[in-house]
Symmetry: C3
Subunit: 254 residues, 3 copies
């Protein structure tokens, strides 16, 4: 199985699919091609949340603002999975998640002969991912184009800080519904369901899901990623709480 | 075969695909993940129009503004098909269409152990749909998690009314091209092609397809759903006729 | 293998998939359903760029502003591939590319019995594409619904002109990143990398890829289609160069 993730929109992913299908009969599954363009952090967050639900697979990931520069092209073995994409940090959080504490092994893909300098998804990563799929995740080192890498680019998400009776975190991403997903672990709300807490100096109820408040009303809940989420029932939480990616979220009275 | 329909946009559907593929080798087919968010009626309309073109399959449907409340999670057997989704009416029109006059049987899915309160698509519906696929549509009752339901939530579309020489209907949905699809059956236009009729007090030609009028001109036609449609050749009918979902459409001189 | 391309957005493509899957077990691959609506030229460009990366397949193409008029419905055999779609020019550039100099053979599909006049993607093209897939690309003439066509509608892209020390081309399409893709072959830049050239009277650096200039800065590069492209690193080239589809692009000092 091969999964595809990118910020390409359309129709560039289809060229990658054509390359795949010229090299393998594997099942192809689109994860998303609508990651915010050239936003490595947001893609890294979503990949970490989503890819662990898949059975062992080769995951192509192309969010690659540095295409055609000297950033390396990588294959990363993480647990039973392989990740193929640019060495810009986008692979790191999901690799750690998939490895479940085991070592991550990285290989540099030789891209000297790429047909283009602007579309390595098609010309470097897709052929490499197909080759990894065909040879098997346990045999990446048998591919001539792959040589062991020194390491992979770091990318980590900030941890919330606890001070007195407050927890100070931040918004990591805003999803398509407008839910502002923070870096605060949901368990801090364990004793607060049905009560209200203070978010950035304003009161909001803590509920198990959106429809526990009236339509259009704000709430604080635990999202499916198990983090605290600022939401509005049938509305957009990021607007009601006036926060965007990277903005501070201070919870008090928890 | 498993089909997927939701209002999730991206990338949440990928988590559901990962769950599917961890539980079944079935073919996956995306119907749409771009249904208007939390708009149960519009999704119900499109599912009724589209799913009957599929061969027998298990259809996952997640347009679920009440996730995490006490609305039931259902499996519905309708003809040779099964539908899996929330009991909020979204399943009803398509179930009736697929059943073709036969009985509809509904089962409640036990969701007490769901990992989240906010993403039952991933944590309740996708595992249930995979299980139904694996056991077979004729054997839903053999699944421990499924118990017979008392019924399913109603949702029906309004019928047009005939008065004197006029037919009064309404706009059910507006499609991506801007065609305003009404609840008036197309057969009322059978004798009018090439003529003009009156729509909400304004004249418009009745034509078999869009390009029978000049680019930018209005027309009344019969859409692929066999209903009367208000359209503009290479333009947006809902703007030219100044109508939106739920607005009245009165046809006279038919 | 069957590929699907259209300007339908959602959810109309799902009806075509249902028809396919009722008639064939073939693998289905979405190329794009987000081609600009009723824009035959842009779709023709992208199909020519993308479909040649696929192994032999039947390609359904529905960008069809003339649906329901007397424009023919076609099957086109081009090399090892077949294309199925309306005879409005959209098939021509990709057919020539796939045929690689060999003859293109076209067949008219009998559409007299179509269920609708407004959705031939579902009612004419999808069933024909499934039939072509099942009978095989070498046996199109054995299908009763297919009769030899006199030819296919022309559509070609303008060639750039060379005058004195300048090359005068135009913008063919703007991609989702905002890159303005011209009709000027990339090889004219072969000796200019690292230098700057003049684009419509303004200077811009020539670079191998986007990130060779600072974020927000303009550049001229060779895109993955091997044409000259006007771009901005992490920004939108068409805005910075103030050009849209069809606008002239004059390169001097090359």
């Amino acid at each position: 199985m091969l999964t595809l993730s990118s910020d390409f929109g359309t129709p560039y992913p289809a060229a990658m699919k054509g390359v795949f299908l010229s090299n393998t009969d594997a099942r192809l599954v689109d994860v998303s091609h609508e990651f915010p363009r050239q936003d490595v952090r947001t893609a890294a967050f979503w990949l970490r949340e989503v890819l662990p639900y898949f059975p062992p697979a080769v995951h192509l990931v192309v969010v690659d603002p540095g295409v055609g520069t000297d950033r390396a092209a990588l294959v990363v073995r993480a647990g039973d999975h392989a990740l193929v994409g640019p060495d810009n940090g986008v692979l790191r959080p999901v690799a750690r998640q998939l490895a479940e504490g085991d070592d991550i092994e990285a290989f540099v893909i030789d891209d000297d002969e790429a047909d283009s300098s602007t579309f390595h998804g098609r010309d470097v990563f897709a052929p490499a991912a197909a080759a990894v799929h065909e040879v098997g995740i346990d045999h990446i080192e048998s591919l001539d184009r792959c040589t062991p890498a020194d390491g992979i680019e770091q990318l980590s998400f900030p941890e919330p800080t606890h001070r007195d009776d407050a927890i100070a975190g931040e918004v990591l991403v805003v999803d398509g519904f407008g839910n502002a997903i923070t870096n605060v672990p949901g368990e801090v709300l364990d004793d607060s369901f049905g009560d209200s807490i203070t978010v950035n100096d304003e009161q909001a109820p803590v509920e198990r899901s959106y429809a526990h408040v009236e339509s259009g009303e704000r709430l604080v809940t635990v999202g499916s990623h198990e983090n605290v989420e600022l939401a509005v029932n049938r509305g957009r939480g990021e607007r009601a709480f006036d926060v965007g990616v990277g903005d501070p979220v201070v919870l008090t009275d928890v």
